[in-house]
């Protein structure tokens, strides 16, 4: 943590502040105001893309805590997202529960399922854990697809728009604010979880589990806690995305999607909260840029639009490999380098 010239930490509060300097306060306020203004000047399509991206960020914060901080690799993340999405949709449309209660409950439900899967992490680590989460992905999705009386099977089910008092958040614009505020809260919570003793215990487990246990960290409890927190984030992200789309089908929660979640945090940088934002926004921009490019190309070559999904798979796979090979610390590390350069310019150090 490098501070600008003539700025010194003199109290404990200053040392712990996330937003430390006046410039950072101004930038943060500007970013929030800008965020709140986004619906005023973007079209509905663009806004839908932004809402989806934001809900993915919330879910990816979960896998960042679980994998990036606690080192428990999970390739079943989209199944937990699905659990959140389905439980919230069920609670609202079947039990008639309010959206505002259903979303946190969905988060807890996903967290509990995650806890169940996390039980395997007591005995397994490394790639054995990857395989067990992979098995969990297939088993959870099997249950969702084949429990047709509850989930509607592969036809999916509807997730109605939320209401507050007499207001119905049916338009994309109004729903944007819900997700935006949820994202702010989720980021704040995630950032603070990883700074507390819980987060430091996670990091200790990631770096050396044996040493962590010798230091008195209860491995089982903290690993399970990481699974619960990570999957609860996934559930909330999934629930928000489900109500944005209005209808959910099992196709959106495949193994490939789980790989994407892992890819987001690899690209963004493992073990940083900013990295989640970088990773998801980078991939989302890539995806939508490619979509625009292909649709403009399809006036010349008809059918180019259908190439989007496979081409994106190739590019995404390649980007993951390139980042792992050349910049394993991800975009967040590049951002740190840039900030250091900016702070010191025009001197080299």
């Amino acid at each position: 943590m490098h501070l600008p010239c003539r700025t010194f930490n003199e109290t404990y509060e200053q040392d712990m502040a996330i937003v430390r300097t006046r410039l950072q306060w101004i930038l943060l306020a500007a970013a929030i105001v800008f965020g709140l203004c986004i619906p005023l000047f973007t079209g509905t399509y663009m806004l839908t893309v932004i809402i989806t991206t934001m809900s993915i960020i919330i879910a990816a914060l979960g896998i960042q805590i679980l994998t990036g901080y606690c080192g428990q690799l999970s390739v079943g993340h989209s199944a937990f997202v699905a659990v959140g999405a389905y439980s919230s949709a069920l609670l609202v449309s079947q039990s008639g529960l309010s959206f505002w209660i259903a979303v946190p409950v969905a988060g807890i439900a996903a967290g509990l399922v995650g806890l169940l899967v996390g039980l395997t992490s007591i005995r397994l680590k490394g790639f054995y854990l990857i395989i067990s989460t992979l098995a969990a992905q297939f088993i959870i999705m099997y249950v969702i697809i084949h429990w047709t009386s509850v989930t509607g099977g592969s036809f999916g089910m509807s997730a109605p728009a939320p209401k507050l008092g007499g207001i119905e958040f049916a338009t994309t614009q109004s729903y944007f604010y819900i997700v935006f505020i949820a994202l702010l809260i989720a980021t704040y919570v995630a950032k603070n979880i990883v700074r507390t003793n819980v987060g430091r215990a996670f990091i200790a487990i990631r770096d050396n589990d044996l040493a962590a246990e010798v230091m008195g960290i209860h491995l089982t409890a903290y690993k399970l806690l990481a699974f619960f927190i990570g999957c609860a984030f996934a559930g909330i992200g999934g629930a928000l995305a489900a109500h944005a789309r209005g209808v959910i089908t099992p196709d959106s929660y495949t193994l490939v999607q789980s790989f994407w979640y892992l890819g987001y945090i690899i690209i963004g940088g493992l073990g940083t909260i900013t990295g989640v934002f970088f990773g998801v926004i980078f991939v989302s921009a890539l995806n939508n840029g490619l979509a625009m490019f292909l649709s403009s190309l399809s006036t010349i070559f008809p059918g180019a639009g259908s190439l989007l999904a496979p081409l994106m798979l190739v590019i995404f796979g390649l980007v993951i490999i390139l980042f792992l090979t050349f910049e394993p610390r991800g975009l967040a590390h590049r951002w740190q380098i840039f900030k250091a350069y900016y702070r010191l310019w025009p001197f080299s150090y």
Partner: protein, 293 residues
């Protein structure tokens, strides 16, 4: 009794297919210590190459099989050289994530090249079931049993008697020591990927004949994981036995539970996998690394 015997024979025949695919995992793990999640993609690619050569180019089927194996061998070498050569010495989890990237890439490549609709290979075997021990089995399953027997015999001997096979085992045990006694670790890595790609192509041709050649064939790689874990990651005979046990259990599950739980055969392998991981993560023949955390 005869019904159970029939299920058993069919299960063993299906299990032979599994064990061929599982062999690919074991070969790469044995030599390089990498767990290759893109094994299913190599299988899928092999099936499509065979389809391309036999249907699109129109070569005779047996020529196209041999050519497929040659191409698959080259693809294995190429993948190792382009994507994995730089990762030698990196942590195994990073390399595992590279294989996840490969999985995504290869699925995209297959979708771009051949589209989403599944294709079928030419019918080179009669559809008439043949009788093995009183059970009616399609000829393809008999063929897969034979193919599995040949492949396993070859590889057990390969790892025991050939110098490259011994070099592979040495490399898996300790890369630095292997290098210091004059083994080219790079060449061992290349060879193991090439051979694994070749076995995946054999599996691809067989699975492509049984089902059909589609992009979702790459999920077959994940379905086989229980066989690999059950047999033990380092063990070639383990892959055979694990594959056959998986095939039998899955077939019995489908036969006796399938009427209540539709599609249960797709999820049985993963349930077995979870149970196995919790009880015997090192498998039947794997090296027991006892580590209590």
């Amino acid at each position: 009794m005869s019904v159970i015997l029939e299920h058993l024979v069919i299960g063993i025949a299906v299990g032979a297919v599994y064990s061929i695919v599982a062999l690919g995992f074991v070969l790469i793990y044995k030599a390089t210590g990498v767990f290759n999640l893109a094994q299913g993609s190599l299988l899928c690619l092999g099936a499509y190459i065979c389809y391309f050569l036999s249907i699109t180019v129109g070569l005779p089927f047996y020529v196209s099989i041999i050519l497929t194996l040659v191409v698959a061998f080259a693809i294995g070498l190429l993948i190792e050289f382009v994507f994995l050569r730089r990762m030698i010495g990196q942590s195994h989890l990073a390399i595992l994530m590279i294989t996840i990237g490969l999985y995504l890439m290869l699925r995209g490549v297959v979708l771009i090249a051949w589209g989403v609709y599944s294709k079928s290979l030419p019918s080179y075997l009669s559809a008439e079931p043949i009788n093995i021990l009183g059970a009616n089995v399609l000829p393809i399953f008999a063929l897969s049993l034979v193919a599995a027997a040949i492949l396993f015999a070859v590889f057990i001997l390969f790892f025991r008697y050939t110098s490259i096979g011994v070099a592979m085992r040495a490399t898996q045990d300790n890369q630095q020591v292997a290098q210091s006694v004059g083994i080219s670790v790079k060449r061992v890595f290349g060879m193991s990927w090439a051979i694994a790609s070749l076995t995946a192509a054999v599996g691809g041709i067989i699975v492509g004949t049984i089902l059909s050649v589609g992009y979702s064939l790459d999920d077959f790689g994940f379905k086989v994981l229980p066989a690999v874990i059950l047999g033990g990651l380092e063990s070639v005979p383990g892959a055979l036995i694990g594959g056959i046990i998986l095939g039998v259990v899955e077939h019995f599950g489908a036969a006796y539970l399938g009427s209540w739980l539709i599609g249960i055969e797709d999820v049985i392998p993963y349930v077995i996998l979870l149970v196995l991981l919790l009880i015997v993560p090192y498998g039947i023949f794997g090296l027991k690394r006892i580590e209590r955390i």
